[in-house]
């Protein structure tokens, strides 16, 4: 008697009547293993977590905007305080930016620099990846190449600027050569590391199934190392901007680096900073693009942790 009475007045029975109860959902789940659309009945914890993720995404955008705004404001205050033609205000830099886009000079500079980076970078990858794979795979190749590679990786691209200009002139070739040089080493060393990092069991199982040499290369080694090559290429891409500006600062007749030197000589500080602004934005854009492409096409090529 007592039990029945208690059940009738328990809060659980009330919720049951209202339509939603954990028991009922569980019973439904027992009857039907297919996921049921439970709409608002999502457990409160999960709802909270979802909203927190949304908040995190939103606040990251807000923080980005705040960060950019803070940078501009600090710059504006500094330029106002110093009141010097050497320190133009954000507004003047923006003007110069629009102006140089309008008369086409900036676009030409961008095109020239990007072209140099692209050619040097692509050539560097074309040489760096196979060489890195060969060095990783064949001890003889590694033994032969390693001393030279180890030596040259500590001679920075900037050190090669003068000889490059003397050998190849102030035109395209010297710039492309510098970008190429830098890309090759980064891609090569990373690719070599990637080969060394292939789990031994992957190689042994492939051996077990009787793979031929080229099958091992095309189906195991290459896919297993591609994420390493790409990581090297991304670092190289970032450094390419520094290298191309360095090369263009020394000797050039176009390009973003050249624009910085040229504007400096004419004391056109606003144009100079506009060129620098474009450099930074281009770098971010290139890196974002690389990351996007990697996430799209290389999702499964990244080594999963072995711990699990």
């Amino acid at each position: 008697m007592y039990h029945r009475d208690a059940a009738r007045h328990s809060p659980m029975t009330t919720t049951s009547r209202a339509g939603i109860s954990v028991d009922r959902l569980e019973a439904a789940a027992r009857r039907d293993p297919e996921p049921v659309d439970i709409g608002n009945a999502l457990p409160p914890v999960r709802r909270k977590r979802a909203s927190r993720a949304l908040l995190a995404r939103r606040s990251s955008w807000i923080l980005t905007a705040l960060s950019v705004a803070a940078g501009i404001i600090v710059w504006a205050i500094a330029s106002r305080a110093l009141d010097s033609p050497l320190f133009p205000s954000p507004v003047r830099i923006a003007h110069a930016l629009i102006e140089s886009i309008g008369d086409g000079t900036l676009l030409v500079d961008i095109a020239v620099s990007v072209r140099r980076i692209a050619i040097g970078f692509v050539l560097g990858c074309i040489v760096g990846v196979p060489l890195g794979l060969a060095m990783g795979l064949f001890p003889l190749v590694r033994a032969f190449c390693d001393p030279v590679v180890q030596f040259l990786r500590f001679v920075p691209p900037i050190a090669w600027l003068i000889p490059a200009i003397m050998w190849f002139g102030i035109g395209e070739t010297s710039k492309i050569a510098i970008i190429f040089y830098m890309t090759v080493f980064l891609v090569l060393l990373n690719t070599m590391t990637g080969v060394a990092a292939i789990p031994r069991n992957q190689l042994r199982s492939a051996e077990n199934y009787g793979v031929s040499g080229w099958q091992l290369f095309a189906w195991i080694v290459f896919p297993a190392t591609v994420s390493y090559s790409v990581a090297g290429a991304r670092i190289a891409m970032g450094n390419s901007f520094a290298a191309v500006v360095g090369a263009e600062l020394i000797a050039a007749n176009a390009g973003l680096g050249y624009r910085i030197v040229d504007s400096g000589q004419w004391m056109a500080m606003d144009q100079m900073f506009a060129a620098m602004l474009v450099l930074g934005l281009l770098g971010i854009a290139a890196d974002r693009l690389a990351r996007l492409l990697a996430a799209r096409f290389l999702r499964h090529y990244v080594h999963s942790d072995h711990a699990d």
Binding site: P199, N201, Q202, R204, S205, A206, E207, N208, Y209, G210, V211, S212, Q215, W219, I220, P223, A224, H300, Y301, V302, H303, S304, H306, D308
Partner: protein, 274 residues
């Protein structure tokens, strides 16, 4: 009295058999021998468990049979022929699931050994699907290894081995890295599978219970260095075996004592060296 497993009788005498004769192995001069005079036979269709303390060279024995390593002395025969390198008639299932190819789906991992042989896509997929069904992974074909649990990864490895129809399966502590529940489930499934699949299995473990649960015979290895087979015990219990049964307990005690002796002797040897 040694019993001949049912599966063994169904096969031709030599196909799928393993013979290790007076095998020694070391990683070069100046370093202690890993194996010293190992001899044992595994009959065709038999489920043979190699049991021993960690570091005793169990995996080395497996690597010799697989053809990943070559013995410094002695002979290793598979299906009556000397082992010269790895081959498709002896498929290895590794302890670490990192042998799965992370950039391939479960299906493509399982069809990989067939792709290597140039078998047509349609047949590959059919055989892979059949193997995945056997190991209970139907419906997970399009997942990537990173999306699988530890147990499912080992099931994928097993499917990839089964798809080849190799007469010999070499299993190197395949369940050691799994949680207790998953391990127990997979052990039970392997018992059922081994009855129907009629293949020779060399199974390596350091888990006594697992050895008794699975094996037709259990070979106990001495503690290294210079390890060999101490004794071979026939597991004369009807299947399916229950961990709780009295016979199971008696056998467990016997094997446990045998291994303890080994470990203690090894410790004494180390003491006397110091």
């Amino acid at each position: 009295m040694p019993i001949e497993p049912v599966a063994a009788r169904r096969r031709a005498a030599d196909a799928g058999s393993i013979a290790i004769r007076e095998v020694s192995f070391g990683f070069g001069a100046g370093r202690p021998e890993v194996l010293d005079d190992v001899t044992f036979d595994v009959a065709s269709g038999e489920f043979f468990v190699l049991l021993g303390p960690s570091g005793c060279g169990k995996s080395t024995v497996l690597n010799l049979i697989a053809g990943f390593e070559q013995p410094t002395q002695g002979t290793v025969l598979a299906s009556g022929r000397p082992v010269e390198g790895a081959a498709r008639d002896r498929v290895v299932i590794f302890q670490d699931s990192d042998s799965l190819y992370g950039w391939l789906t479960v299906r493509d991992n399982v069809t990989f050994p067939l792709r290597v042989q140039g078998i047509a896509a349609r047949e590959r997929d059919e055989r892979a699907l059949a193997a995945l069904k056997v190991v209970g992974l139907k419906g997970h074909e399009d997942k990537y290894p990173a999306e699988l649990s530890g147990g499912m990864k080992q099931r994928t490895q097993l499917a990839r081995a089964l798809v080849l129809d190799a007469p010999i399966l070499l299993m190197d502590e395949p369940f050691a890295a799994l949680d207790a529940q998953t391990r127990s489930i997979l052990q039970d499934e392997l018992v059922q599978l081994s009855v129907t699949m009629r293949r020779t299995v060399l199974f390596i473990t350091h888990d006594i219970g697992e050895a008794i649960l699975l094996g037709d015979r259990v070979g106990i290895m001495r503690a290294g260095p210079g390890s060999s087979i101490k004794e071979t015990i026939v597991v004369d219990l009807p299947r399916p075996r229950r961990r709780g049964s009295a016979d199971f307990g008696t056998l467990y005690e016997r094997i446990h004592r045998s291994i303890s002796e080994e470990v203690q002797q090894a410790l004494r040897r180390e003491d006397s060296l110091l």
